[in-house]
Symmetry: C2
Subunit: 204 residues, 2 copies
DNA sequence: GTCTATATCGCGATAGAC
DNA sequence: GTCTATCGCGATATAGAC
Protein backbone atom coordinates (compact mmCIF):
# COMPACT_ATOMS: atom_id res chain seq x y z
CA UNK A 1 0.00 0.00 0.00
CA UNK A 2 2.75 2.43 0.94
CA UNK A 3 4.71 0.96 -1.91
CA UNK A 4 1.87 1.65 -4.31
CA UNK A 5 1.70 5.29 -3.33
CA UNK A 6 5.43 5.59 -3.74
CA UNK A 7 5.41 4.03 -7.18
CA UNK A 8 2.53 6.22 -8.24
CA UNK A 9 4.46 9.29 -7.14
CA UNK A 10 7.47 8.10 -9.12
CA UNK A 11 5.32 7.74 -12.21
CA UNK A 12 3.92 11.23 -11.76
CA UNK A 13 7.36 12.77 -11.30
CA UNK A 14 8.69 11.05 -14.39
CA UNK A 15 5.65 12.02 -16.42
CA UNK A 16 5.83 15.63 -15.29
CA UNK A 17 9.44 15.93 -16.40
CA UNK A 18 8.73 14.36 -19.78
CA UNK A 19 5.56 16.36 -20.39
CA UNK A 20 7.34 19.60 -19.59
CA UNK A 21 10.21 18.66 -21.83
CA UNK A 22 8.47 17.23 -24.90
CA UNK A 23 4.75 17.90 -24.51
CA UNK A 24 2.05 15.34 -23.76
CA UNK A 25 1.46 14.43 -27.40
CA UNK A 26 5.04 13.25 -27.92
CA UNK A 27 5.20 11.24 -24.71
CA UNK A 28 3.75 7.73 -24.63
CA UNK A 29 2.95 5.56 -21.64
CA UNK A 30 5.97 3.49 -22.62
CA UNK A 31 8.23 6.51 -22.30
CA UNK A 32 6.84 7.32 -18.90
CA UNK A 33 7.25 3.74 -17.71
CA UNK A 34 10.85 3.63 -18.90
CA UNK A 35 11.69 6.95 -17.26
CA UNK A 36 10.12 5.78 -14.03
CA UNK A 37 12.05 2.51 -14.19
CA UNK A 38 9.02 0.32 -14.73
CA UNK A 39 7.93 -2.16 -17.34
CA UNK A 40 5.30 -0.96 -19.81
CA UNK A 41 2.74 -3.38 -18.45
CA UNK A 42 3.28 -2.41 -14.85
CA UNK A 43 2.34 1.18 -15.46
CA UNK A 44 -1.17 0.03 -16.30
CA UNK A 45 -1.46 -1.53 -12.90
CA UNK A 46 -1.15 1.96 -11.39
CA UNK A 47 -2.83 4.17 -13.94
CA UNK A 48 -5.45 3.26 -16.51
CA UNK A 49 -3.98 5.53 -19.19
CA UNK A 50 -2.18 8.73 -19.96
CA UNK A 51 -5.21 10.90 -19.27
CA UNK A 52 -5.42 9.57 -15.74
CA UNK A 53 -1.81 10.56 -15.17
CA UNK A 54 -2.52 14.02 -16.46
CA UNK A 55 -5.52 14.31 -14.19
CA UNK A 56 -3.40 13.33 -11.20
CA UNK A 57 -0.79 15.95 -12.06
CA UNK A 58 -3.48 18.56 -12.49
CA UNK A 59 -4.81 17.68 -9.06
CA UNK A 60 -1.42 18.26 -7.43
CA UNK A 61 -1.06 21.53 -9.29
CA UNK A 62 -4.48 22.89 -8.41
CA UNK A 63 -4.07 21.97 -4.75
CA UNK A 64 -0.75 23.77 -4.52
CA UNK A 65 -2.19 26.89 -6.10
CA UNK A 66 -5.18 26.98 -3.83
CA UNK A 67 -3.09 26.61 -0.71
CA UNK A 68 -1.23 29.72 -1.76
CA UNK A 69 -4.18 32.08 -2.00
CA UNK A 70 -6.51 30.53 0.54
CA UNK A 71 -7.43 32.17 3.83
CA UNK A 72 -5.27 29.76 5.80
CA UNK A 73 -4.42 31.05 9.25
CA UNK A 74 -6.67 34.06 8.76
CA UNK A 75 -3.94 35.94 6.96
CA UNK A 76 -5.10 39.33 5.81
CA UNK A 77 -4.49 40.65 2.30
CA UNK A 78 -1.63 43.06 1.82
CA UNK A 79 0.41 44.37 -1.06
CA UNK A 80 3.43 42.50 0.23
CA UNK A 81 1.50 39.26 0.24
CA UNK A 82 0.18 40.02 -3.23
CA UNK A 83 3.71 40.44 -4.55
CA UNK A 84 4.98 37.34 -2.83
CA UNK A 85 2.08 35.14 -3.89
CA UNK A 86 2.36 36.31 -7.48
CA UNK A 87 5.99 35.26 -7.49
CA UNK A 88 5.17 31.88 -6.00
CA UNK A 89 2.30 31.39 -8.44
CA UNK A 90 4.64 32.00 -11.32
CA UNK A 91 7.09 29.49 -9.89
CA UNK A 92 4.35 26.88 -9.60
CA UNK A 93 3.20 27.57 -13.13
CA UNK A 94 6.75 26.99 -14.26
CA UNK A 95 6.96 23.65 -12.49
CA UNK A 96 3.80 22.49 -14.23
CA UNK A 97 4.40 24.44 -17.39
CA UNK A 98 3.09 21.72 -19.70
CA UNK A 99 -0.32 22.38 -18.17
CA UNK A 100 -0.08 26.12 -18.77
CA UNK A 101 0.87 25.43 -22.36
CA UNK A 102 -1.64 22.74 -23.22
CA UNK A 103 -4.45 23.30 -20.76
CA UNK A 104 -7.23 24.34 -23.10
CA UNK A 105 -6.47 21.54 -25.54
CA UNK A 106 -6.26 18.99 -22.73
CA UNK A 107 -9.58 20.07 -21.27
CA UNK A 108 -11.29 19.60 -24.60
CA UNK A 109 -9.97 16.07 -24.81
CA UNK A 110 -11.00 14.98 -21.32
CA UNK A 111 -14.38 15.81 -19.88
CA UNK A 112 -13.40 14.65 -16.40
CA UNK A 113 -10.39 16.93 -16.36
CA UNK A 114 -12.51 19.80 -17.64
CA UNK A 115 -15.02 19.42 -14.82
CA UNK A 116 -12.31 19.26 -12.18
CA UNK A 117 -10.57 22.27 -13.62
CA UNK A 118 -13.67 24.38 -13.90
CA UNK A 119 -14.41 23.88 -10.23
CA UNK A 120 -10.86 24.66 -9.11
CA UNK A 121 -10.71 27.62 -11.42
CA UNK A 122 -13.82 29.30 -10.12
CA UNK A 123 -12.75 28.88 -6.54
CA UNK A 124 -9.40 30.37 -7.37
CA UNK A 125 -10.61 33.39 -9.30
CA UNK A 126 -13.03 34.27 -6.53
CA UNK A 127 -10.09 34.03 -4.12
CA UNK A 128 -8.43 36.72 -6.22
CA UNK A 129 -11.47 38.96 -6.22
CA UNK A 130 -11.89 38.51 -2.46
CA UNK A 131 -8.24 39.41 -2.05
CA UNK A 132 -8.78 42.61 -4.02
CA UNK A 133 -11.86 43.50 -2.03
CA UNK A 134 -9.88 43.10 1.18
CA UNK A 135 -7.20 45.41 -0.13
CA UNK A 136 -9.84 48.01 -0.89
CA UNK A 137 -11.63 47.54 2.44
CA UNK A 138 -8.38 48.07 4.29
CA UNK A 139 -7.59 51.19 2.30
CA UNK A 140 -4.51 49.67 0.67
CA UNK A 141 -5.88 50.43 -2.79
CA UNK A 142 -8.46 52.95 -3.92
CA UNK A 143 -11.65 51.66 -5.50
CA UNK A 144 -11.89 52.24 -9.25
CA UNK A 145 -14.59 54.52 -10.60
CA UNK A 146 -17.59 52.77 -12.17
CA UNK A 147 -18.05 51.02 -14.47
CA UNK A 148 -14.64 49.54 -13.68
CA UNK A 149 -14.79 47.05 -10.82
CA UNK A 150 -12.41 45.25 -8.51
CA UNK A 151 -13.40 42.09 -10.38
CA UNK A 152 -12.17 43.65 -13.64
CA UNK A 153 -8.80 44.31 -12.08
CA UNK A 154 -8.64 40.83 -10.60
CA UNK A 155 -9.54 39.27 -13.95
CA UNK A 156 -6.88 41.33 -15.70
CA UNK A 157 -4.32 40.26 -13.12
CA UNK A 158 -5.46 36.68 -13.70
CA UNK A 159 -4.89 36.98 -17.44
CA UNK A 160 -1.45 38.41 -16.80
CA UNK A 161 -0.67 35.57 -14.41
CA UNK A 162 -1.74 32.83 -16.79
CA UNK A 163 -0.50 34.49 -19.96
CA UNK A 164 2.90 35.69 -18.93
CA UNK A 165 4.74 32.37 -18.96
CA UNK A 166 3.49 31.38 -22.42
CA UNK A 167 4.42 34.89 -23.54
CA UNK A 168 7.97 34.39 -22.28
CA UNK A 169 8.24 30.98 -23.84
CA UNK A 170 7.76 32.61 -27.18
CA UNK A 171 9.76 35.77 -26.74
CA UNK A 172 12.50 35.00 -24.31
CA UNK A 173 13.84 32.95 -21.46
CA UNK A 174 10.91 31.70 -19.43
CA UNK A 175 12.96 30.76 -16.40
CA UNK A 176 15.08 33.82 -16.02
CA UNK A 177 13.86 35.09 -12.64
CA UNK A 178 14.24 38.68 -13.81
CA UNK A 179 11.93 38.02 -16.74
CA UNK A 180 9.40 36.10 -14.70
CA UNK A 181 9.27 38.92 -12.18
CA UNK A 182 8.03 41.23 -14.88
CA UNK A 183 4.60 39.63 -14.47
CA UNK A 184 4.54 41.35 -11.09
CA UNK A 185 5.55 44.63 -12.71
CA UNK A 186 2.64 44.41 -15.09
CA UNK A 187 0.19 43.79 -12.27
CA UNK A 188 1.64 46.79 -10.51
CA UNK A 189 1.21 48.83 -13.69
CA UNK A 190 -2.47 47.93 -13.77
CA UNK A 191 -2.92 48.79 -10.09
CA UNK A 192 -0.72 51.90 -10.15
CA UNK A 193 -3.59 54.38 -10.61
CA UNK A 194 -5.18 53.03 -7.44
CA UNK A 195 -2.06 53.07 -5.28
CA UNK A 196 -0.25 55.83 -3.47
CA UNK A 197 2.89 56.58 -5.35
CA UNK A 198 5.33 54.54 -3.29
CA UNK A 199 2.99 52.01 -1.70
CA UNK A 200 4.06 49.09 -3.87
CA UNK A 201 7.75 49.44 -3.17
CA UNK A 202 7.43 50.41 0.47
CA UNK A 203 5.44 47.54 1.74
CA UNK A 204 7.96 44.81 1.12
CA UNK B 1 -1.39 25.15 -61.46
CA UNK B 2 -4.58 26.96 -60.60
CA UNK B 3 -5.94 23.57 -59.74
CA UNK B 4 -3.10 22.92 -57.35
CA UNK B 5 -3.70 26.16 -55.49
CA UNK B 6 -7.38 25.33 -55.24
CA UNK B 7 -6.75 21.87 -53.88
CA UNK B 8 -4.26 23.21 -51.38
CA UNK B 9 -6.84 25.71 -50.16
CA UNK B 10 -9.37 22.91 -49.80
CA UNK B 11 -6.91 20.96 -47.70
CA UNK B 12 -6.26 23.96 -45.47
CA UNK B 13 -9.94 24.64 -44.97
CA UNK B 14 -10.65 21.03 -44.08
CA UNK B 15 -7.66 20.91 -41.74
CA UNK B 16 -8.65 24.15 -40.02
CA UNK B 17 -12.14 22.86 -39.30
CA UNK B 18 -10.82 19.56 -37.94
CA UNK B 19 -8.07 21.15 -35.87
CA UNK B 20 -10.51 23.59 -34.31
CA UNK B 21 -12.93 20.78 -33.60
CA UNK B 22 -10.68 18.01 -32.29
CA UNK B 23 -7.21 19.49 -31.80
CA UNK B 24 -4.15 18.82 -33.93
CA UNK B 25 -3.07 15.78 -31.91
CA UNK B 26 -6.27 13.88 -32.65
CA UNK B 27 -6.33 14.70 -36.35
CA UNK B 28 -4.23 12.63 -38.76
CA UNK B 29 -3.29 13.39 -42.33
CA UNK B 30 -5.76 10.66 -43.28
CA UNK B 31 -8.59 12.49 -41.57
CA UNK B 32 -7.70 15.70 -43.32
CA UNK B 33 -7.54 13.98 -46.70
CA UNK B 34 -10.92 12.35 -46.18
CA UNK B 35 -12.53 15.62 -45.07
CA UNK B 36 -11.07 17.38 -48.10
CA UNK B 37 -12.35 14.64 -50.39
CA UNK B 38 -8.91 13.35 -51.34
CA UNK B 39 -7.14 10.03 -51.15
CA UNK B 40 -4.55 9.67 -48.38
CA UNK B 41 -1.74 9.45 -50.89
CA UNK B 42 -2.79 12.52 -52.78
CA UNK B 43 -2.48 14.74 -49.77
CA UNK B 44 1.24 14.05 -49.72
CA UNK B 45 1.52 15.42 -53.21
CA UNK B 46 0.45 18.80 -51.87
CA UNK B 47 1.89 18.90 -48.37
CA UNK B 48 4.83 17.00 -46.97
CA UNK B 49 3.23 16.42 -43.59
CA UNK B 50 0.90 17.75 -40.92
CA UNK B 51 3.38 20.32 -39.69
CA UNK B 52 3.55 21.90 -43.10
CA UNK B 53 -0.22 22.27 -43.10
CA UNK B 54 -0.08 23.89 -39.69
CA UNK B 55 2.59 26.29 -40.91
CA UNK B 56 0.44 27.27 -43.87
CA UNK B 57 -2.53 27.95 -41.62
CA UNK B 58 -0.38 29.99 -39.28
CA UNK B 59 0.79 32.04 -42.24
CA UNK B 60 -2.78 32.89 -43.23
CA UNK B 61 -3.59 33.77 -39.67
CA UNK B 62 -0.59 36.01 -39.09
CA UNK B 63 -1.13 37.86 -42.35
CA UNK B 64 -4.75 38.59 -41.51
CA UNK B 65 -3.79 39.92 -38.11
CA UNK B 66 -1.09 42.16 -39.43
CA UNK B 67 -3.32 43.68 -42.06
CA UNK B 68 -5.64 44.71 -39.27
CA UNK B 69 -3.20 46.75 -37.22
CA UNK B 70 -0.87 47.93 -39.92
CA UNK B 71 -0.57 51.52 -40.99
CA UNK B 72 -2.41 50.80 -44.22
CA UNK B 73 -3.75 53.95 -45.86
CA UNK B 74 -2.06 56.10 -43.25
CA UNK B 75 -4.97 55.62 -40.86
CA UNK B 76 -4.38 57.39 -37.59
CA UNK B 77 -4.90 55.72 -34.23
CA UNK B 78 -8.14 56.46 -32.41
CA UNK B 79 -10.13 54.96 -29.60
CA UNK B 80 -12.82 53.98 -32.07
CA UNK B 81 -10.32 52.12 -34.19
CA UNK B 82 -8.89 50.48 -31.10
CA UNK B 83 -12.31 49.16 -30.15
CA UNK B 84 -13.09 47.98 -33.63
CA UNK B 85 -9.77 46.29 -34.19
CA UNK B 86 -9.96 44.55 -30.86
CA UNK B 87 -13.31 43.10 -31.86
CA UNK B 88 -11.97 41.96 -35.23
CA UNK B 89 -8.86 40.50 -33.63
CA UNK B 90 -11.01 38.44 -31.33
CA UNK B 91 -13.04 37.22 -34.29
CA UNK B 92 -9.89 36.16 -36.13
CA UNK B 93 -8.61 34.41 -33.03
CA UNK B 94 -11.87 32.53 -32.92
CA UNK B 95 -11.56 31.42 -36.53
CA UNK B 96 -8.10 30.01 -35.85
CA UNK B 97 -8.80 29.04 -32.28
CA UNK B 98 -6.78 25.83 -32.45
CA UNK B 99 -3.72 28.04 -32.82
CA UNK B 100 -4.62 30.14 -29.80
CA UNK B 101 -5.11 26.99 -27.79
CA UNK B 102 -2.05 25.03 -28.84
CA UNK B 103 0.37 27.69 -29.99
CA UNK B 104 3.08 27.31 -27.39
CA UNK B 105 3.10 23.53 -27.68
CA UNK B 106 3.15 23.71 -31.48
CA UNK B 107 6.06 26.13 -31.51
CA UNK B 108 8.09 23.82 -29.31
CA UNK B 109 7.52 20.98 -31.74
CA UNK B 110 8.43 22.88 -34.92
CA UNK B 111 11.44 25.13 -35.10
CA UNK B 112 10.42 26.55 -38.47
CA UNK B 113 7.04 27.56 -37.14
CA UNK B 114 8.66 29.05 -34.06
CA UNK B 115 10.92 31.26 -36.14
CA UNK B 116 8.08 32.46 -38.34
CA UNK B 117 5.91 33.17 -35.36
CA UNK B 118 8.55 35.05 -33.41
CA UNK B 119 9.06 37.42 -36.32
CA UNK B 120 5.35 38.02 -36.84
CA UNK B 121 4.82 38.38 -33.15
CA UNK B 122 7.42 41.08 -32.64
CA UNK B 123 6.14 43.09 -35.57
CA UNK B 124 2.66 42.85 -34.20
CA UNK B 125 3.44 43.81 -30.61
CA UNK B 126 5.38 46.84 -31.76
CA UNK B 127 2.37 47.78 -33.86
CA UNK B 128 0.40 47.85 -30.62
CA UNK B 129 2.94 49.97 -28.80
CA UNK B 130 3.12 52.37 -31.75
CA UNK B 131 -0.64 52.56 -31.71
CA UNK B 132 -0.58 53.47 -28.02
CA UNK B 133 2.10 56.10 -28.58
CA UNK B 134 -0.02 57.68 -31.28
CA UNK B 135 -2.99 57.83 -28.94
CA UNK B 136 -0.84 59.60 -26.37
CA UNK B 137 0.72 61.94 -28.92
CA UNK B 138 -2.71 62.99 -30.11
CA UNK B 139 -3.92 63.56 -26.60
CA UNK B 140 -6.50 60.79 -26.74
CA UNK B 141 -5.02 59.17 -23.64
CA UNK B 142 -2.90 60.63 -20.87
CA UNK B 143 0.59 59.24 -20.40
CA UNK B 144 1.01 57.07 -17.31
CA UNK B 145 3.32 58.22 -14.53
CA UNK B 146 6.72 56.50 -14.41
CA UNK B 147 7.70 53.76 -13.96
CA UNK B 148 4.58 52.65 -15.83
CA UNK B 149 4.98 52.97 -19.59
CA UNK B 150 2.83 52.88 -22.68
CA UNK B 151 4.55 49.60 -23.49
CA UNK B 152 3.32 48.15 -20.18
CA UNK B 153 -0.23 49.04 -21.10
CA UNK B 154 0.17 47.65 -24.61
CA UNK B 155 1.62 44.41 -23.24
CA UNK B 156 -1.23 44.08 -20.78
CA UNK B 157 -3.72 44.65 -23.57
CA UNK B 158 -1.89 42.02 -25.58
CA UNK B 159 -2.18 39.50 -22.75
CA UNK B 160 -5.88 40.26 -22.48
CA UNK B 161 -6.27 39.81 -26.22
CA UNK B 162 -4.51 36.47 -26.36
CA UNK B 163 -5.78 35.16 -23.05
CA UNK B 164 -9.43 36.03 -23.23
CA UNK B 165 -10.58 33.38 -25.66
CA UNK B 166 -8.89 30.52 -23.79
CA UNK B 167 -10.38 31.97 -20.64
CA UNK B 168 -13.85 31.83 -22.16
CA UNK B 169 -13.32 28.32 -23.48
CA UNK B 170 -12.92 27.21 -19.90
CA UNK B 171 -15.54 29.31 -18.18
CA UNK B 172 -18.25 29.95 -20.69
CA UNK B 173 -19.40 30.25 -24.24
CA UNK B 174 -16.46 31.41 -26.34
CA UNK B 175 -18.53 32.43 -29.30
CA UNK B 176 -21.24 34.41 -27.60
CA UNK B 177 -20.55 37.90 -28.99
CA UNK B 178 -21.53 39.45 -25.67
CA UNK B 179 -18.90 37.40 -23.89
CA UNK B 180 -16.22 38.02 -26.48
CA UNK B 181 -16.85 41.74 -26.26
CA UNK B 182 -15.86 41.67 -22.63
CA UNK B 183 -12.24 41.53 -23.76
CA UNK B 184 -12.78 45.10 -24.94
CA UNK B 185 -14.27 46.03 -21.58
CA UNK B 186 -11.19 44.77 -19.81
CA UNK B 187 -8.91 46.78 -22.05
CA UNK B 188 -11.03 49.81 -21.32
CA UNK B 189 -10.76 49.06 -17.59
CA UNK B 190 -6.98 49.11 -17.89
CA UNK B 191 -7.01 52.35 -19.85
CA UNK B 192 -9.76 54.02 -17.80
CA UNK B 193 -7.40 55.98 -15.51
CA UNK B 194 -5.85 57.57 -18.59
CA UNK B 195 -9.08 58.49 -20.35
CA UNK B 196 -11.53 61.30 -19.87
CA UNK B 197 -14.58 59.88 -18.26
CA UNK B 198 -16.73 59.41 -21.34
CA UNK B 199 -14.06 59.25 -24.05
CA UNK B 200 -14.37 55.53 -24.65
CA UNK B 201 -18.13 55.52 -25.16
CA UNK B 202 -18.29 58.80 -27.04
CA UNK B 203 -15.88 58.11 -29.79
CA UNK B 204 -17.77 55.26 -31.41
C1' DG C 1 3.38 -5.60 -7.68
C1' DT C 2 6.07 -6.48 -11.33
C1' DC C 3 7.52 -8.71 -15.25
C1' DT C 4 7.49 -10.52 -20.44
C1' DA C 5 4.94 -11.43 -24.36
C1' DT C 6 1.71 -10.35 -27.45
C1' DA C 7 -2.59 -8.71 -29.99
C1' DT C 8 -4.61 -4.92 -32.27
C1' DC C 9 -4.80 -0.84 -34.22
C1' DG C 10 -3.98 3.26 -37.00
C1' DC C 11 -0.63 6.58 -38.43
C1' DG C 12 2.99 8.22 -41.67
C1' DA C 13 4.88 7.58 -45.88
C1' DT C 14 5.99 5.56 -50.44
C1' DA C 15 5.45 2.98 -54.98
C1' DG C 16 3.42 2.61 -59.06
C1' DA C 17 -0.79 2.50 -62.16
C1' DC C 18 -3.79 5.66 -64.52
C1' DG D 1 -2.87 15.35 -60.19
C1' DT D 2 -5.11 11.59 -58.32
C1' DC D 3 -5.80 7.03 -57.16
C1' DT D 4 -5.04 2.16 -54.78
C1' DA D 5 -2.15 -0.80 -52.34
C1' DT D 6 0.93 -1.63 -49.02
C1' DC D 7 4.95 -1.63 -45.66
C1' DG D 8 6.94 -0.49 -41.29
C1' DC D 9 6.49 1.37 -37.14
C1' DG D 10 5.15 2.49 -32.53
C1' DA D 11 1.39 3.23 -29.37
C1' DT D 12 -2.29 1.24 -26.35
C1' DA D 13 -3.86 -2.32 -23.79
C1' DT D 14 -4.28 -7.10 -22.04
C1' DA D 15 -2.88 -11.94 -20.58
C1' DG D 16 -0.61 -14.72 -17.79
C1' DA D 17 3.75 -16.20 -15.34
C1' DC D 18 6.31 -15.11 -11.21
Amino acid sequence: MAKTAQTRARILDAALALFNERGTAAVSTNHVAAAAGLSPGNLYYHYADKQEIIRALHHRYAAAHEALWGTGGGQRASLARLRENLARSMELSWQYRFLERELVALLRADELLAAAHRAAYQRRLSQWVAFGEQLADDGLIRRPAPPVTIADLATTAWLIGTGWLPFLEITGDPHDPVQVARAGDLVRAVLAPYLDRTAWEEES
